[in-house]
């Protein structure tokens, strides 16, 4: 976004984007990568980073730039003593308990090193997820607000218990058709790469990758445009709908014993045969550093308790219908911990989260 376009924004946002531009230099040839996370708002992240540095990242330093929109951390990571260039930013927004990780690193360094760094601060930081439906809505919103045409380039689909599959798009296939077709094949769109074409021939074409895993990348857009047109509304909705309605205040405790269950309504009838409950247990076993106990297992009906060792949070999980997963948070369930469980389940199951 050109500096003169900042004039349209309020002063706080203006200052914020100017600071980001100063701290985050784009690297030619490498599109910026973004990951969205949520943080435990009881605590100061600055203090946390000062108090704990994972051994592998010993020597890592950071600076903080404070703004009205959020605190911006710039990390110079060291991995086993070696400097890892380029640096990455963590922007902890003030309005919502959301962090934006912004990086110029190559994809492999971003995923395997930078995100691994932030992962070691779980459960105080926890990566967010979005449903396929939300991604579709996001594309519609972007199209409208940026007055561009969205052309799908390639996308990844997945089905329950299946592997991810990359598909290329034929020219002019409406992106919404891709989502609908996936559903009709009992699959869902897991991530998608699109071009944003302006109405005029001279407009530069922007590129965008959005995914259920909360990882985005963009080209020819600039962070300010990306934040305003792609992220802002998405994150606001995440906060208002998921964080406030589902993640927050769910724990049972000595002082508040009432159980507050939720359910995930799946798109397909998944739990139909005897093996299906066992398949579900196999998925649960995939949660690293979590334990589980089988409370009841009768053919296709299962009741489990799952325990997150890092946070101490635990949940009762049942599968009481062919297309539903019910979750009853027990003790020590903070929003970031609940987010982790739902994020994990979302990797494997696409559905709608509803209060019980």
């Amino acid at each position: 976004m050109k500096i003169e376009e900042y004039g349209m924004l309020d002063q706080n946002k203006r200052k914020f984007f100017i600071t980001i531009e100063r701290l985050f230099g784009e690297v030619s040839g490498t599109p910026p990568k973004v990951a969205i996370c949520t943080y435990d708002k009881r605590y100061s992240m600055a203090e946390l980073f000062k108090k704990h540095m994972p051994a592998a990242f010993d020597g890592t330093t950071f600076e903080i730039d404070k703004s009205e929109i959020g605190d911006i951390f710039k990390f110079r990571l060291k991995l086993y003593g070696k400097d890892l260039e380029p640096s990455c930013l963590l922007i902890n927004l003030k309005e919502w308990p959301i962090g934006i990780i912004l990086s110029n690193a190559k994809h492999i360094d971003f995923k395997n090193v930078q995100l691994a760094f932030f992962r070691s601060y779980y459960p105080l930081i926890s990566r967010t997820f979005f449903s396929s439906v939300e991604l579709l809505k996001l594309l519609g919103r972007i199209e409208k607000t940026t007055e561009t045409d969205i052309e799908a380039q390639r996308y990844v689909v997945k089905r329950y218990y299946g592997k991810k599959e990359t598909r290329l798009c034929f020219a002019k296939t409406p992106y919404s058709d891709l989502f609908l077709n996936a559903v009709s094949e009992h699959m869902w769109v897991d991530s998608i790469v699109v071009n944003l074409k302006g109405k005029s021939e001279s407009d530069a074409v922007s590129k965008l990758r959005i995914g259920r895993d909360g990882i985005f990348s963009y080209r020819n857009m600039g962070f300010a445009k990306f934040f305003v047109f792609v992220l802002e509304e998405l994150l606001k909705t995440w906060n208002d709908e998921l964080y406030k309605n589902t993640l927050e205040n769910r724990a049972r405790s000595f002082d508040d014993v009432v159980a507050k269950p939720i359910k995930i309504k799946l798109k397909s009838e998944l739990f139909l045969e005897e093996n299906d409950a066992l398949k579900f247990i196999e998925v649960i076993k995939g949660l690293p550093k979590w334990g589980y106990s089988i409370i009841s297992l009768n053919k296709f009906f299962i009741e489990l308790n799952v325990l997150d060792y890092v946070s101490g949070g635990s949940f009762d999980i049942t599968v009481p219908a062919s297309n539903e997963i019910h979750i009853i948070p027990q003790t020590q369930v903070t929003p970031t911990v609940f987010n982790r469980l739902l994020s994990f389940l979302t990797e494997n199951y696409e559905g709608e989260i509803q209060n019980v």
């Binding site: 000595f254 269950p261 589980y292 009906f301 946070s311 101490g312 009762d316 009481p320 009853i328 903070t334």
Partner: protein, 355 residues
């Protein structure tokens, strides 16, 4: 290290899993009754002392307080089989020994004025599992039908079942015999209104996890799971930053806790409400000292918890070393460790070093 009797261990695991499953049936059925009571504008209690401050007071399992009357009685996980000749020499013996002198005698002890706990008029209830056909036949046809009226007050006999359906469970309480003071409620029961699919009971099943019909009814591994996965993290405030920082540094969390606090937390978080007498004294708690201390002793034998030597009292302090267990499946791990420490045989296995 070679496994001692691995076949026995697997069969022990299956036995315990079945025991927990079976235990849950009565618990879920009581929860169904709880939910029905609430829908009728009533309160459901797990028993209480009818005569406050009297250790010999009758203690019914169930007290249901409805707007116009109450229902007081017992819930049974099973009824002995009248054909079991190792215990009963004949059906007549069963009728006398079990039905009259045990089951009915117990119910008759609630057939008294209990206005001192705020109940002016009440009916009696027995809730039994569906499937004890022979026992129910003797009870209904050889006893209840033949008495003019076994009790002064009205009496209703209900049966419960937890039935696996295509993709879920259905929990039902059905009418067997007798009558209630409210023909409206009696009718609802006869018409199968106390019937819930498992998914409808999430909230309640998340909150109520014990029904101690009598001492030793609750499977010990089940209590150990509640302690390890829920109570220990809650007492230690495991999701607080400082505790998490300790975890990052050492991979475990160490804390001390008294037996009395464990009992308090278990009861607060997981038991059905119990009726309190006019003095406000807490009665009929469900996670009792013996149950919880036995669970803790198992952890001690497994090397997960330490305590001082000496007699175990409510003031006994335990040091819990809470960490990620070597096996993902927690209850299975507990059974295996207990098996290897000889707990199921009621003795420790010499100086054998546990892994």
């Amino acid at each position: 290290m070679s496994d001692k009797d691995p076949e026995g261990l697997e069969s022990k695991k299956r036995e315990i899993a079945a025991d927990i499953n079976n235990y849950q049936r009565l618990l879920k059925s009581l929860i169904a009754l709880y939910k029905f009571t609430k829908s009728e504008g009533g309160e459901f209690y797990f028993g209480g002392r009818i005569i406050p401050n009297d250790k010999n007071s009758p203690t019914p399992d169930i007290i249901i307080k409805l707007p116009k009357f109450a229902i007081v009685g017992d819930a049974k996980r099973s009824l002995p089989n009248p054909n079991n000749r190792q215990i009963f020499v004949s059906e007549e013996d069963y009728l006398k020994t079990f039905i009259e002198n045990d089951l009915i005698k117990q119910l008759k002890s609630y057939d008294i004025n209990i206005s001192n706990i705020g109940i002016k008029n009440h009916d009696l209830i027995l809730l039994a599992p569906q499937g004890c056909t022979d026992a129910m036949a003797v009870l209904k046809f050889d006893f209840l039908d033949k008495q003019k009226s076994a009790f002064e007050r009205k009496f209703i006999l209900l049966v419960y079942v937890v039935e696996p359906l295509a993709n879920t469970e259905q929990i039902r309480i059905s009418y067997e015999w007798g009558t209630l003071s409210s023909s409206e409620i009696e009718n609802k029961i006869k018409r199968g209104k106390i019937s819930y699919y498992r998914g409808e009971l999430d909230k309640e099943i998340g909150m109520f996890k014990i029904f101690e019909e009598n001492n030793g009814a609750t499977p010990i591994v089940y209590v150990m799971q509640l302690l390890w996965a829920q109570i220990f993290p809650e007492i230690n405030k495991k999701s607080d930053k400082d505790i998490i920082l300790e975890w990052y540094r050492t991979g475990e969390n160490v804390f001390e806790v008294k037996l009395s606090k464990l009992i308090k937390y278990l009861n607060k978080l997981y038991s059905l409400p119990y009726i309190v007498d006019s003095n406000g004294a807490t009665e009929r708690i469900q996670f009792k000292t013996q149950l919880v201390s036995t669970a803790m002793e198992n952890f001690v034998k497994m090397g997960l918890v330490e305590r001082d030597n000496g007699e175990v009292t409510e003031n006994t302090k335990y040091k819990v070393v809470w960490k990620e267990l070597p096996e993902k499946e927690i209850t299975s791990y507990f059974v295996e460790k207990m098996w290897k420490s000889g707990i199921f045989k009621g003795e420790e296995v010499g100086q054998k070093k546990l892994e």
